[in-house]
Every structure is written in C-alpha cells, then in structure tokens.
C-alpha cells in the first residue's frame, strides 16, 4: 500500500489502473437484460428488412470503403463521384421499381387481442404488447413498410383514430379536426405508407376519408350526398375504389384522391350487389370483389380500363372475400361450407380453382406471397385460431388461438382487427 508522502503521479495512475480487471455479471442481470432487449432487436430487424432499411445499409456499405482512412483524398473523391453517379442511376431504377411495387418482407402482424394492441412475429409466433391493456383498439391496420399501426377507439359514442409505431413509440391521434364515427370496414394504406383510407360516418352519411398519417390531416374524398363504403387504394396511389350505395343497389366505383373523376367500373352485374372492393391486382388493371344476392355470391374482377366485370367462380359455389396474391398470379377466396367457410385458391383469371383448407376464413396474403392469413375453425371445434398457411394448404400455424371466453362466431380469437400491411377482404 502507498501512503500520501510517497505517492507520485505515476503511482496514483497505477493504483487507479488496478481497477481495470475483468468481472462477471450476475446471470440474472444477463437474463433480464436480454429479455428487455429482445423486442427492440426484433423491431430493428423489421425496420432493417424494409426497403428503406435495405437502402440505408447498402448505401453505408458502398460509402464505407471510400471514406476509409487508408484511401487518399483524390481516390476518395473520385470514388465518391463515381458512387454518386451510380446512386443517380440506381435512384432512377428505384423510382421505376417503386411504380411497380415489389413484395416486401412480411414484417410483424399487428392485432388487437381483447382490445390490447400486439405485435406478433409470424415466424416465431411470439407476441409483445404495443400499448397498455386499457386501450381498447379496434379496426387495426399496418402500414406496408411495417413501421406504423393505426387503430380506432370507440368510447362513449366517440370514434378516435390513432397511429403508433410498431415498437409502441410515437403514439398520436389522427383526424382530430373532424367529428366522425368509424364504420367497421377495413382501413387500407397507400403503397407509400403515407396515407390511410377509412370509412366513417360524417354528417350522417357513410363517406371515405383520406388521412395523412404524418400530419394527421384528414379530408373526405367522396361527395357528401353519396353513401360510400369499403375504400381500397390503387397500386399507383392515385385512385380509391369503393362501393357506392344508392336506391338501386351497391356498385363498384373509383374516384381520384382529389375527389374528381368518379365513375363506375363494374359494368352490368345483372342485379347483383357488390359487397366491396377486396383487393387490386398489382398491375392496377383489375379489382377483385364479390357480388351477389341473398341466394348467390360470386367472385368477380372488374377491368379498370374496359369497365366490365368477369365472373371468376362457378355458379354452384357461394364464394366471397377475394385476395389477389402480391405478384398478381393467384387469388384466394372463401366458399360457403356447412360448418362455415373453406379456403380456396385459383389462378387470377379464375382457372384451376381448388380448396386448400377446410373450415378457414381468409385474412389476406403475406407481402411476399409465401403465406395466407387464415381464421381456421375446424368442424370439431377442438382447435383453431388466427394463423398462417402456405398457398398449397400446408404448414398451418396458429398465431392467436381461439379463446373459449370469446365465443362469438368468427371472433373466437378475441381479436378486434389485424393488419399485415396488405389489402385484404
């Protein structure tokens, strides 16, 4: 030990350096640290898998060597100029690619289970709450880029729309300037994840509302004297498809997002009522929908350019709820069965229809087309829940199992809405 008289600066420093020894953390701390970081790492994974995340990583990898300390200034500058030119070319290619949206990674499934908003990893089935349990979230949707979830709360006769990051941060209310009542349709996102289309009652009339998710600003897009249901964005984000309801029935129309050029696209459906536009083909040419009466229901697709419809399912089937695969090659739909519905799949023109899963409702496709979201309710009522299945009917996986305390027909999963970033029936 050293005393005050003999302690030099070197001795002081040496004494302090003796503190620098290896130590072992408490295993309980390691476990709790991991548990606390697990969700954040998953959220990071999802963000990195988005196109923006991939672009950022690629840009970083491109520029890192050029900025390295070993590179001379002139080489760095030349490399930077070359990379900027490459970036310009890549940007033009990217802009072109964005006009034809490519399937994204699946990302998190966002669902409201007993009112609690949860982020579910479809790969592992693990779930984590996004918001406190006291927020009763309904009408859930998720942005195509996987970063934002929106949901409605309906309390004391008042509907409020919120957005929140899928990591639970940055929760904010949208459309605060309007007093509306949410009509339980499925909210859909523009492909750039910037806008949400939703159906609300405004001034006593069902109307389509477009909401800027970044600013919260909202405006109705359909005329004030027209009852309009079930909004759906076009792939190029310029149009909204919806179901106008008049005294003569329900049709299928489109309208530009500035409220102009509204027109019918379904053509003559021989007296059948349209349930609503379900999904839009990725090339923008077709809108899939079902139409029927109390006795029949068929799946159709309407041509945007020709303004006619084609029936895609056989007269003998009562078919509903069509979802186009992200690449546009196939459609999934459900068919009436004695115990509920069966899940079917066919080519996009309706050919080669076949059942892939019995006792299953349809929740849409994953962004990469690898999976279909289903509500599986087997006839024996022993198992089931909200889950995924491959388009060939294999690899059925339940993510939200049925809960006996929530037995209300097709809502036995206790969920009050879900979103996977894709339009769905």
């Amino acid at each position: 030990m050293t005393n005050q008289r003999t302690m030099t600066t070197e001795q002081i420093d040496a004494a302090i350096r003796r503190m620098d020894v290896a130590s072992t953390p408490d295993p309980a701390f390691i476990a709790s640290s991991y548990a606390a970081l697990e969700g954040r790492a998953r959220a990071a994974r999802v963000r990195d898998a988005s196109w923006f995340g991939r672009l950022r990583r690629d840009a970083r990898l491109l520029f890192t060597p050029a900025l390295g300390p070993a590179a001379s200034r002139s080489i760095s500058l030349a490399t930077l100029v070359m990379l900027l030119m490459l970036a310009l070319v890549a940007g033009l290619i990217l802009a072109g690619a964005l006009r034809q949206p490519q399937p994204l990674g699946n990302g998190l499934l966002i669902a409201s289970v007993k009112g609690q908003l949860e982020a579910i990893d479809p790969a592992s089935g693990s779930a984590r709450p996004i918001l406190p349990a006291d927020v009763k979230a309904e009408g859930v949707s998720r942005s195509p880029d996987g970063r934002i979830a929106t949901f409605w709360t309906n309390e004391a006769g008042r509907s409020r729309l919120f957005a929140v990051g899928v990591d639970g941060r940055d929760r904010r209310e949208l459309a605060t300037g309007l007093s509306v009542t949410w009509n339980p349709s499925i909210d859909t996102w523009s492909s750039d994840s910037g806008f949400l289309a939703t159906e609300v009652t405004l001034g006593g009339v069902a109307r389509i509302l477009i909401v800027d998710v970044a600013t919260g600003a909202a405006r109705p897009v359909t005329p004030p004297n027209l009852v309009a249901h079930n909004p759906l964005w076009s792939p190029d984000d310029h149009w909204i498809a919806f179901t106008p309801q008049t005294t003569t029935g329900r049709g299928l129309s489109v309208i530009r997002t500035d409220g102009t050029q509204m027109h019918d696209v379904a053509g003559d459906l021989h007296g059948l009522d349209v349930s609503g536009p379900d999904t839009w083909s990725p090339d923008g040419e077709w809108i899939y929908f079902n139409a029927g009466t109390t006795a029949v229901s068929h799946v159709f697709r309407a041509s945007i350019t020709r303004r006619i419809s084609q029936q895609l399912t056989a007269d003998a089937l009562r078919a509903y709820a069509t979802a186009s695969s992200p690449d546009g090659s196939r459609i999934a739909f459900v068919v009436d069965a004695p115990y509920g519905f069966d899940l079917w799949i066919a080519n996009s023109d309706g050919r080669e229809p076949h059942r892939i899963l019995a006792a299953a409702g349809l929740g849409g496709w994953s962004a990469d087309g690898e999976y279909i979201l289903v509500r599986w309710k087997p006839p024996d009522d022993a198992l089931g829940g909200l889950g995924t299945v491959k388009p060939d009917g294999t690899d059925l996986k339940i993510l939200i199992p049925f809960d006996p305390s929530c037995r209300q027909g097709w809502e036995e999963t206790c969920e009050l809405g879900f979103g996977w970033g894709q339009a769905r029936p």
Binding site: I12, Y34, L37, D48, R57, L61, T64
Partner: protein, 186 residues
Amino acid sequence: MTTQTGEAEAVNELEAALDNDRAFESWHRRMLPRVYSYLLSRCAGDVTLAEELTQQTFIAAIDRRSRFDGRSDAITWLCGIARHKLADHFRSREREERRQMQIQVRQIELDYHARNQMGLEDRTLIAETLRSLPASQRAVLVFVVLDDLPVGEAARLMGKSRGATESLLFRAREGFRRAYAREVAS
C-alpha cells in the same frame, strides 16, 4: 485485402446478430460481460450503476446500429458507446453534486465508516477512494488514466475546454492522493 475482409466480417457480425433471436442471444451473451466489465471498473465497483449503463449501452447500440461501419470490432464500438454513457452519467452526477453537496458528503462519510468496519481489500479501497471524489474528477481519471484517452478527447467527452480538463486532472490526482491517504489512515 485483409482489412476489407475484417471490416466485412465486423459488419456482418452486428447484422447477423440482429438476423434472428438465437443469433442475437448468442451475441448478447458474448458481448455483455465485456461491456459490463469495462463499465464496472469505471464505476468504482458500483454494480447497480454498471448494470444500468450496460443496458443503456445495448439499447443505444441497437438504435444506432446503422452507425457501426465495421472499421472496429463490435466490442470496441460498444465500449465507445459505453464511454459516452459513462460521460453522461458523470455529467449528471456533477450537476446533482452541485445541488446537494452538503448532504452527499455526510452520506459518504457515514458509508465509509460502515464499510471500514468490514475490512476492505486494496482494490476496494481504491474504489472507495475514487467514489469519494467529485464526479468530474472521477470522470477525468477514468477517461485519461483508465481509458488512456488524450486530454483533448477526454475534454470533448466531458464537454469542457482542454485547459479546464488539464486543471481538473491535476486536481483529481491531488484529490485521489489525499483521499487515498485518508482511507489508509482510517
């Protein structure tokens, strides 16, 4: 060529760790003890503080993963983040000390008395001595002596001028000398 391969591997190390749950757990298990060890020795043996700063370091690492360019080992990068967390802590303590100087001095003295009854090892004595110093003095000793940073770099971390940091380092060493002697004597 070798350097480039090393960089690519380092980039891949962090990206691979975030690729799936198992990889992240393995990476976390490998890295956490080293970050913790780095921090514990610089927190004068304060386990709670070291754990808290370790956790903050990993959170920041995930949030700032895009800034990891792979030019250093992941552990070097993590310790760099940890060092900033430590600097933040010292700054915060310094502000707190200014507000509650009288109360704190009294508490430290009582604490020493209790611990001396238990008989302290030499390293514990050094830790106690360090802990008795004001936060700013502790910070400059940690950064300059333990981390071997140039005074200018330590000054930048602490948000002080180079001159003020040199003066602080002198006072810190003097303070350590006096406090250590006091500890030995007691």
